[in-house]
Symmetry: C2
Subunit: 385 residues, 2 copies
């Protein structure tokens, strides 16, 4: 009887309100009933993105949204600058290369954030750069990149800032319009607490202008068609009905629990508590200087085989955390605190890591991690008594 706890950075746990909404009998998508739900979800998505523009809701995962971001704004031979500091930075480069773009890369040490000065230098060196491609939160290295500073660099150039917000949208307050993001993408299975299968994407006025000139081929992901359909409260192709219903339910959950400000505050609090707990148990953070509020990377002791460690936590203890990717494989774990996560998910994660470390022969004093987290987490419960 292993109870399962999902503490990986996606898919994340789905709240009962969304599960139950999605379990209702499916309705047809070309009906006034669904249009009402679709319009409501679209309105919620605009709030989530912090934009007055339309947010397209695609039956796709986030990677499809990343591809759409490029195919809808670029033409073959266009130069783009990729911030490559992790697996998802690599993905930007792969997509761009697949479509025949000319890719400049800034290689960023995994676990650190990009230096805006390096981006500025590259843009100065290549004034023909049509887009900067970056992750707001690089999930593989648990780093938060300085998107607002990058936006300051692209704003006055003929260059778009294209942001993979897959583990930042709904996690950190980064309103698209006010920040100056030109294309923003996210997926349903992260802070939106839904099963995978839905990508959200929005374009700034500047990006739509690029779209008019973009020559890359796109059909299913043609956002001009989606924008037009949105005006009629529908999508160009069959929408992912149950996920849209679930998204609408999630927006109601968020609205009924303090709205987006509380959503961001919660992620910040859980991330701080997790980091404090990790440090208290004597482990090192992967990204101490610019940590993502979505997930926390932790260096394992050298004596511990990370593959066996995460397998033990998952299969023996019931606690699923993420391991490392690329050259971090086997060396780190990632404790997520994104989406439908709370105080006790942090406590579960930290106490489980302590027990697993002990099991792997590491000298651990039980309770240190939870205690440091409790200190931070207890504050929110202050009574007005």
């Amino acid at each position: 009887m292993l109870k399962r706890y999902l503490l990986a950075p996606g898919p994340t746990p789905v709240p009962a309100q969304a599960l139950l909404a999605m379990a209702e009998p499916i309705i047809h998508h070309r009906t006034p009933q669904f249009s009402e739900i679709f319009a409501s979800a679209a309105a919620g998505s605009r709030k989530l993105f912090g934009t007055d523009g339309p947010v397209m809701m695609l039956a796709s995962t986030g990677t499809g949204g990343m591809e759409a971001a490029i195919t809808n704004t670029m033409s073959a031979g266009d130069r783009v600058l990729v911030v490559n500091g992790g697996k998802f930075g690599e993905r930007w480069a792969e997509i761009a290369e697949t479509y025949g773009l000319v890719v400049s890369t800034i290689d960023v040490e995994w676990g650190t954030a990009v230096d805006p000065a390096a981006v500025a230098a590259s843009l100065d060196e290549h004034p023909d750069t049509r887009a900067v491609l970056v992750q707001a939160s690089e999930t593989s290295t648990t780093v938060l990149h300085p998107v607002p500073q990058l936006a300051a660099l692209t704003r006055d150039r003929e260059c778009l800032l294209i942001v993979d917000g897959i583990t930042s949208v709904g996690v950190a307050d980064m309103p698209m319009d006010a920040t100056g993001i030109d294309v923003l993408v996210t997926g349903s299975q992260k802070a939106m607490m839904l099963p995978p299968g839905l990508a959200l994407i929005s374009l700034s006025a500047k990006a739509w202008r690029f779209s008019d000139q973009a020559k890359l081929p796109r059909y299913y992901f043609d956002l001009r068609k989606e924008r037009k359909s949105l005006e009629d409260d529908t999508s160009a192709y069959t929408p992912a009905v149950s996920l849209i219903v679930g998204l609408n339910a999630v927006y109601r959950v968020i609205e009924n629990s303090g709205g987006f400000p509380e959503l961001y505050a919660r992620h910040k609090r859980l991330a701080e508590a997790t980091r404090a707990g990790v440090v208290a148990m004597g482990l090192k953070l992967l990204a101490p200087d610019s940590p993502s509020p979505a997930t926390t990377g932790v260096w394992l002791p050298e004596s511990v085989d990370g593959g066996k460690f995460t397998k033990h936590m998952r299969d023996v203890m019931g606690v699923t955390v993420a391991g490392g990717q690329g050259h971090l494989k086997g060396k780190i774990i990632r404790l997520a605190h994104i989406g439908y996560a709370d105080t006790f998910d942090v406590i579960i994660g930290l106490s489980a890591v302590e027990m697993a470390l002990a099991e792997f022969g590491h000298d651990v004093e039980f309770g240190k991690g939870p205690a440091a987290a409790q200190k931070i987490l207890a504050e929110q419960y202050s009574r007005n008594a």
Copy 2:
């Protein structure tokens, strides 16, 4: 977005396997399909009770089962001995008095177990006693009464041992036949991890003999009719179809996770860890000498208002624990570890209590409770590496 954690001694959390089974379209109860499920659930219930006799499955809560235990075995004017050491001991007396029985009572200090010698003395003083009525686990005081020792007293007398096993069946290993229990009752919403609404009850051969002579009126709860229906894999009146389906699913969950031995071992382990955690945080146990493995009673510091404390934990922190009943109201909390509970439920409960105590002005060193529990709980995860 308050995530809810249910750490009260019933209803207890329901595992997904049972929720999903109960969510399937309902089937008719007079069909071969349902009979097969019913027969399988009845077989599981016999294993659960440790009896070769039939276990009746009534659409009722445990209290209905308690009433059936009396009405099916007693006649007006019969003398019974009630072990009264908590709210549920009082309930035995109330039911017995309602039906015109003559009630002797052994008053037991709340938080302690009955002394078998006192029961022996009462039986010697009143050789006409027809039944001893006792809780195996007195939920209100978190005490485990010494049922095997009581069975040794009733076995050779014309006296039944009638046991409320509502928070002991499925929690502690106490096989009905081998122990010498004459009537055993439980409810679905405790160790059986189901919603409330199902009572299980079984009678020994001796109790069935009493039943033949029992003159108390009973209609819905006439167990002779239920015993006869069981032979045809059905119940006398409409069975609680979805709960029977759920019960069958729960028996499969138990079977697939080490069976009843592991079920009992888990309850023992969680109870030990909870008690260690409570003591480590400097609090006193309500029942240190004979604690129930189902739930742990904890004296709150005198400065803490228990009513406000449990309300704060439930409404502000999302963690539902039970308070005290009767004269313990406001003075204790009860942390349950019964049914679908695991390591991390214990950690959640203890860390939440620490944070709530701090909130109520009590001097708490965070992490002490979880640490003591982790020490005990970590052992089960030993690899064979």
